[in-house]
Symmetry: C2
Subunit: 352 residues, 2 copies
């Protein structure tokens, strides 16, 4: 393995000159540069990452921290990752994914404090997230995908849940639906302060109210069975429902199964919209699901770019940005079949 010394000797220049050719930190004449580059090529020289990191106090490694639970990584999260990896690679940084779960904060602290990571992007952020505290104490530059409760001092990119819900509801209302039920994540998830669940809940209430409609929300466990139960609960609360809005990729299959089980057809009897769902998952269902598609790789890319800006100019402004989801109409939404099921005015009793 050739070192910078070897290159310098072969090119008949000093080590520092080789370094300057590599980093561009000082001007080098074209003639010298060519000599050095030729020597590097001949020796198949590759800089040693450790030595460079030690001397420059910059590892050129960025971390993407994502809790990996047993559920696996959905296509949505995967898109964040690939977007981030591409952006990092473009900037000459490595992106490493660290599956540090919620449990081992110590592992995280070690990683952060050993100066192995120049900066970190955090995924799946809770409203109150200890990892943020740990990283801030360690002085590691930080960008979130998602938001904590208090975002005043933080940089983040997140999905615009407000807009997403508003647009999904508008789509259904535009088709003629009046009685729409929102199937959210589980009550337990809501209780832990999972931002997306809380924000969509509030947005749903506000969107429905804005249309003069009554908002009905059901919390569903993250499982097919949970979806079935949620739909049963929905029919109990709103027997005349003609549309279901859901943000729960797992439960939605139970919802669809239960609809079929009740002899109801999608979309003729009941329309279904899935939120923050990847096209791949939407296509799994029959019929394919109309969905609000997440900005995907853009989210990851923007997070990395913001992080790199923080590295270059510390003390710069925070980056806070919300990205919209795009409505993609597939086969699961249509105008409600029977006007009989449609109540043109919000009914105060809520029962039919």
């Amino acid at each position: 393995m050739a070192t910078m010394h070897d290159v310098a000797r072969l090119a008949r220049v000093s080590v520092s000159t080789v370094s300057y050719v590599l980093t561009g930190a000082r001007p080098i004449s074209q003639a010298t540069r060519d000599k050095v580059l030729a020597a590097m090529a001949e020796l198949d020289y590759q800089p040693n990452a450790m030595a460079r990191g030690l001397a420059s106090r910059r590892s050129r490694i960025l971390g993407l921290l994502m809790p990996m639970d047993e559920r696996g990584l959905g296509a949505t999260e995967t898109a964040f990752v690939t977007g981030a990896a591409a952006a990092a690679s473009t900037a000459g940084y490595h992106l490493v994914l660290s599956p540090v779960g919620g449990g081992n904060l110590d592992d995280l602290r070690r990683l952060a404090t050993q100066r192995m990571l120049d900066g970190v992007v955090l995924m799946e952020v809770q409203l109150a997230d200890e990892r943020v505290t740990v990283l801030q104490e360690a002085g590691v530059p930080l960008v979130l995908i998602g938001r904590t409760g208090d975002t005043s001092a933080l940089s983040y990119v997140d999905i615009d849940f407000e807009q997403t819900v508003r647009e999904a509801v508008a789509h259904l209302v535009g088709l003629g639906h009046r009685r729409i039920v929102y199937v959210n994540h589980s009550a337990a998830t809501l209780a832990t302060g999972y931002g997306p669940a809380l924000r969509t809940r509030d947005a749903f209430v506000s969107a429905m109210t804005g249309h003069g409609l009554e908002p009905v929300m059901i919390a569903a466990e993250d499982s097919a069975a949970g979806g079935r139960a949620a739909l049963a609960a929905a029919f109990a609360q709103a027997p005349e429902l003609t549309a279901v809005l859901a943000m729960n990729e797992t439960a939605i299959f139970g919802i669809l199964g239960e609809l079929t089980g009740r002899g109801l057809s999608v979309p003729d009897d009941v329309s279904v919209v899935s939120m923050v769902t990847s096209p791949q998952v939407a296509e799994l269902a029959t019929p394919a699901l109309t969905a609000m598609t997440s900005p995907g790789s853009a989210l990851g890319r923007i997070a990395i770019e913001a992080l790199l800006r923080h590295l270059d100019g510390p003390g710069g402004p925070r980056h806070q940005q919300l990205l919209p989801c795009a409505l993609e109409i597939r086969g699961s939404t249509a105008a409600p079949r029977r006007a009989a099921l449609v109540t043109s005015e919000p009914s105060p009793t809520g029962g039919g």
Copy 2:
């Protein structure tokens, strides 16, 4: 940020003594050790990973290379990752996941050649995998999850596809099924030399022949539509089929949809077994799928342990191991309702 120097000064010993306390490379008296540990605690000392890596020529970082396509990471692959991460952490190593896709071999070469990774575990290996060549040329210790065609010089852990298929077929035959169709990955995937697809194909032929039955295999695109098409093809080739064996998590939803569309009930008319499927995915379907569950995290753990052994004693023996899948019986398999079912067209009533 405190350095070893600071610790040494505070403890009134030399830097090397501090280092020996940390690494255990030489004996240190209990009294000195205590002094040093106290100083480290007081200063909240954390060794600098870069400096350590440079001096010892060991980064204590292991790479897990997984191609991340847009499909996302299934629960099965996620289990590999968490198992590997846990094992690495136990041994005092960091595990970084690198989403280096098939495309950017250069990125991989850079990573390998910059001496940033002590060793690598490779996932989703093809029968002929260029990444293996690149890494071997770079001299990076290597363990595969999966197998290339020629495994003579390599260490690997893989699923025992032979056993998995044999057991799945035995389960169905034991229930009384005689006409079983295997839905494999796509023809294109088979053509690229994807090991699991080829090995299960051969194992299916051999298992069926062993029972005196005729093997029928259909290649399906990785999509719901592909599953539907595959099932239609299956009925065309074997109208009297009573069981479907599948190794295609995506297509299986299309298969189930198409069965329902033809008015056939699972498991009464047709039994379905999914291979190398995580419990989470199996539970998504209605009824929940009987499946051959992959060894999951054990695979990742074993791969890391083998890799660590290679690092400690280079020139040691290769590690080559196959792990079985476990049969988990859920709701999608039962004894065939009728001795021979003859349907080649979708029938609206489904024939009670």
